[in-house]
Amino acid sequence: MSTLHTINKSPFDRASLQSCLRLAADGNAILLFEDGVYGAMKGSTVAELVEKALSNKTIYVLGPDMKARGVDESKLIDGIKVVDYKGFVELTVENDKVNAWV
């Protein structure tokens, strides 16, 4: 079963991203949105964890939420894909279920 995991909290505010990365299966998709987009930035203390997850998971970040927060694409960890609202909807359709790590 393919799963889309969604993260909308900052990894420094609570451990939603960390728990998701620990418990998501290989091949799953993960979308970072709202305050979750901070987890996609280079150079932070969670970046290494995210980079490791990219070897067997696909990680997406919601463009409009990045722009709102001043997170430029150049600041993203290599390999993370930017999607728009349409891309978000497509991810929910493509996957069998959605697991929201609120």
Partner: protein, 135 residues
Amino acid sequence: MSDIKKFMYVNRKAPYGTIYAWESLEVVLIGAAFEQEVSMAFVDDGVYQILKGQDTTEIGVKNFSPTYSALGDYDVNKIYVEKESLEERGLTVDDLLDLKYEDEDDDWAEKDSIKVVTSKELAEILEQQEVVLSF
């Protein structure tokens, strides 16, 4: 009334995800209008409030980040950012808004409002405050 107190507003939340950042900014501006000695600290996810380049067009929420630039005109020019919080997030002072004020005691010279301080320094600054409001 000449009862001036040292007020410190401590900001620890990212903008937009919750209302705290915007509420704090409103309270700071109100407090400044009462001519109190106001300073601000940005700690933990609060440092994200003053990241430059915010553009909220696509999320349909007001971008309040330009308002921080008005703080200097309200004599709010002591803005402390915790070094450790920046480092944990892979950020430097160059990623932050360029907040300035005009120093009336120095021929209105334009100066930086933001001061990056260590946790230890910030602890001392907090200790000197008479009122601390945390958001």
